[in-house]
Symmetry: C2
Subunit: 347 residues, 2 copies
């Protein structure tokens, strides 16, 4: 029954599986969020973490950009630290700052603060996904989770970090503790994806926002196996898996090899160059620079055309940004880009 | 006479010119700065911009890391916005924030606020370099300037920016204005390098801190010619030219082709991979992750050994970090790394 709610025939799932599509599917990272006035309205007075725990509100926020832009997928509204808070980590998401962890993780004893995540920890997620799969009709829902490296960085630094110096000091200085920490995070991350896919999400995306801070050899040594474990948690649910990071042009093949069907590409490398590096083995997602949404339409249109064109060379292409929608973006531009991609790619 | 003050036989200059060295030369980006207690002492109560305009103070700060660490080069203490302030742009460097421009540049009329830089605008720089070449003895001085893209980003955004959305909107949306702006910045940047090289600097480095935010094709279309013009300003002074940016693994060959002798490599790509991409045509500088300086010595030592080893495959290698020294770095670790590189590479 659950399987029936998945939209295997949607363009999103078909593109991820390298099957023919009727047009290139489009969605935007952070499409559900601060760029929309209707989002700011429903979030008013409700702290971020709290808003992720109210199923009706999560469903409404997730639906808003689908209604407004006509995108080909909904992305589940949550935050990568939600599962960490769910297992008991003392943290908050501060406006204008991001996740702040009360006591940073630095020693082996800190592992005790990371019990396994069970579906019971996040029953509000199951509930929200169930509402959504009912409401979304033909539009697939993408479940999401943060990847172990990025989650570890938040825990070890105690918040967002530019240089990840404590994280790297731990990773290079105490590899055994690092691997034990990441193994726990992979369980949490994988279980969070699994909850969403089990409740009806049609695809999942694993976000490794910060992993571009590592060179390839260190990614392979310290990170890849844990991201692979997180993705493997949904292997038997037959949902396509998207894997994305920022500044990861050197890591693309390794991120694909972690078990992805679709490799997300940021805007710092062309889709053509990314495809060459990936050896044609994966579908790709991307990669419009979100800053381009602030440029005059002619300049933006030229870039969109270029990306759709380059995407034709891929085994499968999901149009997206190369990073999240910036808060000051004019939402009408996103609607217009969606229509343009559909028009350019209709077959 | 001026030429005599340049240290063509120093290991730094020889490595840049692909000539044999007695050991791999070492210096650290931001070695003159906040990680040193003696720096914090002499800067006390003196605003950043003001401190860049006092020749004796500039010389003292530039000399401090040479005395302390025994590095193979001094880097001229200044800030990339100093030449902009010198030609009259209303800006300040705010502690904990960075350069803040009173009125951001957005229109053609703003070009009037960017007159050409002449040596008279920065006589304090000439004076400081003259003091330094006298005091430094056998240690070469590296002159430095910010590259047009990075300077443009500060001017257009009005300060440091994560996403460079206004800069990119201008670049993609009004290419002619963009090119005119960057041509002016190239003159300023090139003239600033020329002042330092004319006064006795033995090498120059052009910093393009933010240019990693662009894909290669756009770098080639919007940036490369302007960085090339800045570097060409010192062509007749026969000083080697180092060109560095952050997150630029995709841009390395294009940055070399802008007229560099040495391509700076950040820590996100191994020297071996960078050398392959550069086709053996340039000396390289780099690329220890500054976060590694926070790791236990054994982990740090292993990385330093790896980088020195990989550097042996280069036509010339200058050991450096892959980004600037972080303020909280223990300076004793930098001294120890310097000695280790010297020991490992002595021939």
């Amino acid at each position: 029954m659950l399987h029936d709610s998945r939209l295997d025939d949607s363009n999103l799932v078909r593109a991820a599986r390298q099957q023919p599509v009727t047009h290139t599917p489009v969605w935007f990272m952070r499409q559900a969020g601060r760029s929309l006035p209707e989002y700011r309205r429903v979030r008013e007075g409700i702290p971020m973490l709290e808003s992720c725990r109210r199923p009706e509100l999560v469903a409404e926020i997730t639906l808003q950009p689908v209604r407004r832009h006509g995108v080909d997928a909904a992305i589940f509204f949550s935050d990568i630290v939600v599962p960490l808070a769910a297992v008991g980590v003392d943290l908050d998401i501060k406006p204008g700052v991001g996740p702040v962890v009360a006591e940073p993780f630095r020693t082996r004893a800190d592992l005790d603060r990371l019990p396994e995540l069970t579906p019971e920890h996040v029953s509000y997620v199951t509930e929200a996904v169930q509402i959504l799969t009912r409401e979304l009709g033909d539009t697939p829902l993408i479940g999401f989770a943060g990847a172990p490296f990025t989650l570890a960085s938040y825990l070890v630094e105690g918040g967002p970090s530019k240089n990840h110096e404590h994280t790297k000091a731990l990773m290079y200085g105490d590899p055994q503790l690092w691997h034990d920490l990441c193994a726990r995070l992979a369980q949490i991350s994988g279980a969070f994806l699994r909850v969403q896919a089990s409740a009806g999400a049609s695809a999942v995306q694993l976000f490794d926002s910060w992993v571009g801070a590592l060179p390839r050899a260190d990614y392979e040594r310290f990170v890849q196996e844990h991201s692979a474990a997180a993705l493997a948690a949904v292997d038997d649910l037959s949902v396509p898996k998207i894997h994305f990071g920022v500044g990861t042009s050197e890591l693309l093949p390794a991120m694909g090899a972690a078990g992805a069907d679709v490799v997300g590409v940021d805007f710092r490398i062309s889709l053509t160059d990314a495809l060459a590096r990936l050896g044609g083995r994966y579908s790709v997602q991307g990669n419009l620079d979100p800053a381009l949404l602030f440029a005059p339409w002619e300049a933006l249109e030229a870039k969109v055309r270029e990306i759709v064109e380059q995407g034709r060379q891929a085994p499968g292409h999901i149009f997206n940004l190369g990073h999240g929608v910036l808060p000051e973006t004019d939402p009408d531009v996103l609607t217009r880009v969606t229509a343009l991609v559909h028009e350019l790619s209709a077959r």
